[in-house]
């Protein structure tokens, strides 16, 4: 640690001022006051240096010292990140609890990784090897689900391996490899490396979106899919199910690693995720979900500056696992709280506000965050991705407020949650008229190849029916549905089947909570077959009341419960049932 210090001149909430302190750099991490609270330099103006403190500043006095560290606020990357719960600046909450009990007190220092634990390390380089930044040097099983691949930090451009330790058990900070740099100096490498949270980790090349992140949620996978390496926003007023949707994606999506950032949200919610994910099984591997998950909990009553940092901490961890060649999905719940933290700090710094008191740089910060998503070829030649799914909590449920508006500009998937649907307990309450996904075109080759050639055309037809229903509803509101012609009544009936039987999904039903793509496709096929058959009957002059009397529509709605995910052959019965329905109607009304 450098000997550089400054003296506190003033304190205003989480912001402290220093006068005439020299040598501090922007984004430098500092320790503030007697209790050595963690802080970050956020502004240097003339003789005034401003620091945001990541902990409560109660009781701090002007005149106390601020200690510089010469390095930016960083996270420690290495094995032990998964199956862990951190606060906004990567302090393990479990360690904090061991030190200070049920409450989070101030000035607790805890390393991001367990420095005592020994890992089963396999060294994958040998003396004489030429290494480049990002190359894998050692592996170890981190959890039952994930093999951890330690890399040479990208900060070293190239180096030659001088000596290696034998395979065996090492802690994260023990040197395992010594390399010689081009200038002749040597450096020890460990399992862990440090990385500043505000700097994106480099990669070789960005790849275009081509395959979906399968979530098991029909309305997402089929209607508004997100790509691996894609970005999505879930805006919705309170009680519309943002958190529930994110929980479902975190549980069932086929990402390898999940980073769940609880940014300014409820404490009980984080506890719930922690309890649930420690018990539930990962549908891909059969191991516990926590084995692929890291939680970052900065609940709403924890210090606001750390809330601002938590988003960056999360994305840096995600990029690190991406560099190992994994598909990582980030749940950021909620980005609005992060934006509000920016606003609060900006207000305390007396910056000129833009819209609704948010700082003018809100848009550029949001875009910088979402641009860290992507499918890439990593520096070591693997392929990995970071997908970001950000919840947005618009004030008053009004999507025209600054955070939602600006987020919309930078994401390619928009899953708008709707109060009316939520009131009717239609979950997930994703409004199919407002939402969109720009990935459908990019990914249709994948769906055609991996699910079914007809998948995309079926999807288009389903969306068209829903649009037609929306138009008809305008009329129905005025004159009731009874007076509509039968073909329009049929459109309404099929739209009802789609809404109840397809879009609506029960997060508590064992077969319905996570649905494979194949079943999603067969459900569409069945619904559309029923539609086409009914259309034929209506054209032949049979009234809808006769068609409805057969009860077939309700049977198709119940498919989601009645056909187990591992008995897809049962769809043949439904196909036959629809054929029979056609015959029965013809015979009865001949």
């Amino acid at each position: 640690m450098s000997e550089k210090t400054g003296v506190i001149y003033g304190i205003n909430g989480p912001i402290i001022y220093m006068k005439n302190a020299v040598g501090f750099k922007m984004s430098e991490m500092v320790y503030v006051g007697k209790e050595k609270l963690v802080g970050e330099v956020i502004s240097l103006q003339g003789d005034t240096t401003m620091v945001q403190v990541y902990e409560e500043t109660s009781g701090m006095k002007p005149g106390e010292l601020v200690y510089g560290t010469d390095s930016a606020v960083s996270v420690l990357l290495g094995p032990g990140i998964l199956n862990n719960i951190y606060d906004g600046i990567q302090r393990p909450l479990e360690k904090i609890a061991e030190q200070s009990g049920k409450y989070i007190t101030r000035g607790v220092s805890a390393s991001g990784l367990d420095e005592e634990k020994k890992w089963d390390v396999t060294i994958v380089v040998k003396p004489g090897d030429k290494l480049h930044g990002g190359d894998i040097i050692a592996t170890c099983p981190e959890t039952p689900s994930i093999v951890h691949k330690s890399m040479m930090t990208p900060l070293i451009e190239s180096a030659t391996v001088k000596s290696v330790k034998p395979d065996g058990r090492y802690t994260v900070l023990e040197p395992i490899i010594t390399v010689e740099l081009p200038d002749g100096t040597t450096q020890d490498l460990t399992l862990a490396q440090k990385w500043p949270i505000r700097v994106p980790r480099p990669s070789l090349k960005r790849l275009p979106a081509s395959e979906p992140l399968v979530t098991g949620q029909r309305v997402l996978d089929t209607i508004f899919p997100i790509a691996r390496g894609g970005t999505a926003a879930i805006p919705g007023g309170f009680g519309t199910g943002k958190t529930m949707t994110q929980h479902s994606i975190a549980k069932f999506s086929n990402a390898n690693v999940i980073i769940y950032i609880g940014c300014g949200e409820r404490g009980n919610e984080m506890t719930e995720v922690l309890e649930d994910f420690s018990k539930l099984e990962d549908p891909q591997t059969g191991n516990k979900l926590m084995a692929r998950t890291t939680l970052i909990a900065n609940t709403s009553n924890m210090p606001v500056a750390a809330r601002e940092a938590s988003i960056y901490t999360g994305i840096t961890l995600a990029e690190y696992y991406r560099d190992m060649g994994y598909d990582v999905a980030i749940m950021a719940d909620s980005t609005s709280r992060w934006a509000e933290a920016l606003r609060e700090l900006s207000g305390r710094m007396e910056e000129m506000p833009a819209e609704e008191g948010f700082p003018a740089y809100l848009a550029s910060r949001l875009s910088a965050f979402y641009e860290r998503a992507g499918m890439v070829t990593t520096l070591n030649g693997l392929q990995g991705s970071v997908s970001i799914i950000g919840a947005v909590s618009p004030q008053g449920g009004d999507f025209s407020e600054p955070v939602t508006m600006n987020t919309k500009r930078f994401v390619r998937c928009f899953w708008g949650l709707d109060k009316a649907l939520a009131y009717a307990r239609h979950y997930p309450a994703i409004n199919w008229m407002q939402s969109y996904s720009e990935y459908v075109g990019d990914m249709s080759p994948w769906y055609k190849e991996h699910v079914d050639p007809k998948f995309i055309s079926d999807r288009t037809e389903i969306v068209a029916i829903l649009n037609a229903e929306d138009k008809l509803n305008e009329t129905v509101k005025l004159i009731g549905s009874d007076v509509l012609p039968d073909d329009q009544k049929l459109t309404l009936e099929i739209a009802r089947v789609i809404r109840l039987g397809f879009l609506q999904q029960n997060a508590f039903h064992k077969d319905d909570q996570n649905v494979p793509l194949k079943k999603q496709f067969l459900m569409m096929e069945t619904i559309l077959k029923l539609y086409h058959v009914s259309q034929k009957l209506v054209q032949q002059g049979h009234p809808m009341s006769v068609l409805r009397a057969e009860g077939i529509y309700d049977k198709v709605i119940a498919i989601k419960y009645d056909v187990p995910n591992d008995h897809l052959e049962m769809f043949d019965d439904y196909s036959k049932m629809i054929d029979d329905f056609y015959q029965t109607v013809l015979e009865k009304n001949a």
Partner: protein, 468 residues
């Protein structure tokens, strides 16, 4: 060694600036002596090497730049606590006003509290029966939850809160180790008196701690009131292992006070003039509810807020809804129809309900009945708006059944007597009875198995009676 500073350098609304102050700490409490006799308390909200900005709890009336002595106390706002606070009444910053003298104890606790570590929380799962169907059946209250009542001026939120207090089995399996902490912020004297009388009548007075900042008490003081009350609640729950129900009323006055102080500090306002940190500040109150892992004791919060102009998108209810675990919304229309409690079912929600009900907690069909009632009642709204356009006679048979169901649901399920205490089984059976007014094919949220077990079409007689 108490240094006293004579005089102030400026006074602006509830804020004063003291220059030349030495060794002041951020968030420290200071004591003023005005004209040598009147004592006031204040809190340092900004502090610099040579001056400090202090917020005066009792207001700055009577203070001048020369008549005030200021003394630093060297500690943040603290309250003295012991089990003796039960049955006592305090003012808004925790000083006894019931004439029984001060609390004597060594336990002094900082009222700002500390965040509970999510790793040491226990996820709340224990159902609290309130005896009110609309709450128990549809927005179930769970021990350790924070469930606010969103109300409007003139609606019976106080009566509802009082009924919950009287009927809730907070400490049922805890051998009566329960308590109530009541914090009034800027409410009318009558309201405080109403609660006092209710507590007395139901014989729980000795379990109640009251903190009163009434409408005519100093405005800034009420910024501390909920913090003091929650500190007391946390102490009783987590140190003395009691089950505590906290009633905070009225959050709107608290937020108004915050806006007042913020604007005199010259802060940049966000929405409707409220400060940008309104969310963080409210969260620091609401998050002080819950259960600690492996310990007896809990804090359950029922904050009451009056929505300005009945507007649920106003920043106060809006931000509250984002922090709390659901909300109970009262509706002026239902109130106008004489339905008590006038709970507007559709926007009401309990987020913790899903894990605290069902088999082993209440009954297997609870979630299904609740979902079906919500969904069917949502359709009632559609049918009603259609009826208002084309007239009731033109409606289809099903839509007419929905109208009948809607009326009966509001009258029998939502409506009940202020003394009526229904068990959860009664509530669920009543739900099924009402669903019987609808044809079986309309019940699309219930598993076929449950439907066969519980569904019974209503007697035509009952249908006719309900349609009346």
């Amino acid at each position: 060694m108490a240094i006293e500073y004579l005089g102030l350098s400026s006074i602006n609304g509830p804020l004063v600036i003291l220059e030349g102050v030495q060794n002041a700490a951020y968030d420290e409490i200071v004591e003023f002596t005005v004209d040598g006799k009147e004592k006031k308390l204040g809190r340092i909200i900004e502090c610099y090497e040579d001056y400090a900005v202090i917020q005066v709890f009792e207001g700055t009336t009577g203070m001048s730049l020369t008549n005030t002595h200021t003394r630093l106390t060297g500690h943040p706002m603290e309250i003295t606590l012991s089990e003796d606070i039960l049955g006592r009444t305090f003012d808004g910053i925790g000083r006894p006003i019931d004439g029984f003298g001060p609390i004597v104890s060594d336990t002094k606790v900082n009222v700002n509290g500390l965040p509970l570590n999510p790793c040491r929380r226990e996820y709340p799962r224990n159902f609290i029966q309130t005896g009110i169907s609309a709450i128990d059946g549809l927005t179930t209250l769970i021990r350790g939850q924070k469930l606010p009542i969103f109300s409007g001026n003139g609606l019976p939120h106080d009566q509802l809160a009082a009924q919950i207090v009287q009927q809730a089995n907070i400490g049922k399996d805890a051998e009566g180790k329960f308590g109530i902490v009541f914090a009034a912020m800027g409410v009318k004297y009558d309201v405080a008196e109403y609660f006092r009388k209710t507590f007395e009548e139901s014989g729980v007075s000795s379990h109640v701690t009251m903190f009163l900042n009434l409408a005519n008490d100093p405005v800034v003081e009420r910024l501390i009131t909920p913090k003091v009350a929650l500190t007391a609640a946390e102490y009783l729950a987590f140190e003395k292992h009691m089950h505590i129900l906290v009633i905070l009323t009225d959050i709107t006055s608290y937020c108004e006070a915050m806006r007042e102080v913020s604007s005199s500090k010259g802060e940049i306002p966000s929405r409707k003039g409220y400060p940008g940190y309104l969310y963080s500040d409210l969260a620091s109150l609401y998050e002080r509810a819950g259960i600690v892992e492996g310990q007896e004791g809990s804090v359950t919060q029922i904050p009451i807020l009056t929505m300005p102009n009945d507007d649920i998108t106003h920043p106060i209810p809006d931000l509250t809804g984002y922090i709390t675990e659901g909300q109970i919304v009262l509706d002026r229309n239902l109130h106008g129809q004489g339905i008590y409690p006038p709970i507007s079912v559709l926007p009401s929600l309990s987020r913790l309900m899903k894990d605290g009900i069902g088999e082993g907690y209440t009954r297997e069909d609870h979630q299904a009945v609740a979902n079906q009632l919500f969904s069917s009642y949502a359709k009632v709204t559609d049918a009603r708006s259609l009826a208002s356009v084309i007239g009731e006679d033109e409606l289809s048979e099903t839509d007419r059944q929905y109208l009948t169901f809607g009326k009966a649901f509001e009258k029998e399920f939502v409506g009940q007597g202020p003394q009526e205490n229904r068990s959860i089984i009664e509530t669920l059976d009543l739900g099924w009875k009402l669903l019987g007014l609808l044809p079986k094919s309309e019940l699309d949220r219930v598993d076929t198995k449950l439907l066969d077990k519980y569904y019974k079409p209503a007697d035509p007689k009952d249908v006719a009676a309900a349609a009346e």
